[in-house]
């Protein structure tokens, strides 16, 4: 039982199919990009179903992940992406009435994606459909009291559509993760969800190739229950996140800040809330 999986840690980290640097870039042949993204979520809110309940034992869980992400564009219809997470996770537990704080640091599960895109360009609009198979490899540690990974090979699929005009941007992404059986009897539950980004491009400069995007995100997800759980690991859950996204770019550099407010959450049985999520990223394309 001490090898209980930290299901939510990898159920939700980068389940989304957002691509490194930007959905629309690099769209040129032999283009590539790198991005560093810092992501934080967690809470000490205990839930039973949709209801907040007293957290008398002082349980909590916070996860801080730094993602190193890369993308290579063969031509605009085929990309290869890699997402490498470095995880610091901390939780307070209360086994047998004795408070204890535990943490784990290390490499998480690397995700390789192959976005296949079909672009169409019109006079003042560009759009693309994308189909992205992804593979999550069990590179994170699955041992110890607070493992980073369940040690399984997982398969992800996403179907996306995005459209952009000089002033408006929209992205819809439907994804599904099929979880494999992991080590030590651990297995997270399958998950699926929908991400929607709607935004405007309120300012840009042709002279300096700089500008900003202001967007709003809506993320709806469902995850099946893992095969093991306790109060500090994730139950299966339904969640709705929503919040603003700010993107600024200049030449080939891009900055993105995102806050996701947990607007709705229902957990199976009793479990810690995943909490609000915040992320910052800096990327460059070449």
């Amino acid at each position: 039982m001490r090898r209980l999986l930290a299901a939510a840690l990898f159920l939700c980290t980068s389940s989304h199919a957002h691509q490194p640097v930007m959905d629309m870039a690099p769209r040129w042949s032999n283009g590539y990009g790198i991005q560093i993204r810092y992501e934080r979520y967690g809470s000490n809110d205990l839930k039973r179903g949709r209801e907040d309940i007293s957290n008398l034992q002082g349980l909590e869980r916070f996860v801080y992940t730094t993602w190193l992400e890369g993308v290579y564009t063969f031509d605009r219809s085929v990309r290869l992406t890699a997402k490498i997470p470095f995880v610091h996770q901390r939780r307070d537990v209360n086994p047998n009435g004795v408070p204890a704080s535990r943490s784990t640091n290390g490499l998480g599960d690397i995700i390789i994606g192959l976005p296949l895109k079909r672009y169409s360009n019109h006079k003042a609009m560009t759009q693309n459909w994308s189909f992205t198979p992804s593979l999550r490899m069990p590179t994170g540690t699955s041992s110890g009291d607070f493992p980073i990974s369940d040690g399984s090979w997982d398969l992800g699929l996403s179907l996306g559509f995005s459209r952009e005009t000089p002033t408006f941007y929209q992205l819809y992404d439907l994804y599904y993760w099929k979880e494999g059986a992991g080590r030590h009897g651990m297995q997270t539950g399958d998950s699926f969800g929908l991400d929607v980004n709607l935004g405007i491009h309120p300012w840009h400069s042709n002279e300096t190739n700089s500008g900003i995007f202001l967007m709003w995100d809506l993320s709806v997800s469902h995850s099946d229950a893992p095969n093991q759980q306790n109060l500090t690991t994730a139950a299966g859950a339904d969640r709705i996140y929503t919040g603003p996204i700010f993107v600024a770019y200049r030449q080939n550099l891009m900055f993105r800040a995102e806050f996701k407010y947990l607007a709705y959450e229902r957990v199976d049985n009793i479990g810690l809330s995943r909490g609000n999520q915040f992320s910052l990223s800096v990327g460059a394309t070449f």
Binding site: M22, A25, N121, M125, E164, T165, N209
Partner: protein, 110 residues
Amino acid sequence: MKIKIFAAFILTLASNGVIADDYVVEVHGLVCSFCAQGVIKNVSKLPFIDQSRFTKGVKVEIEEQKVTISVKAGERPNIDDLFEAVRSGGYEPIEIWAVQSDGQLTKFER
């Protein structure tokens, strides 16, 4: 009479883009300058581009879906190479015009 012939000759040259320094390409889908870096990157490498002007010889205007290129004095742009550079940058080139000295645009034929 000589003046008329000379004027006709100049107009003929202009319509073929020989005396223009700048050319404007209409590019469908060009709506974000961050995403258009591939166009700048590819087009600026072409041998007839004058990199001393604009951004390495290329200016992107997303409101009009236009790419303006600066061409070296006395050279003509190779349209096939230019359009292929735009395509491999991820967009669709449609037409090209030469910018005359008075700012007027003249459709440039291959």
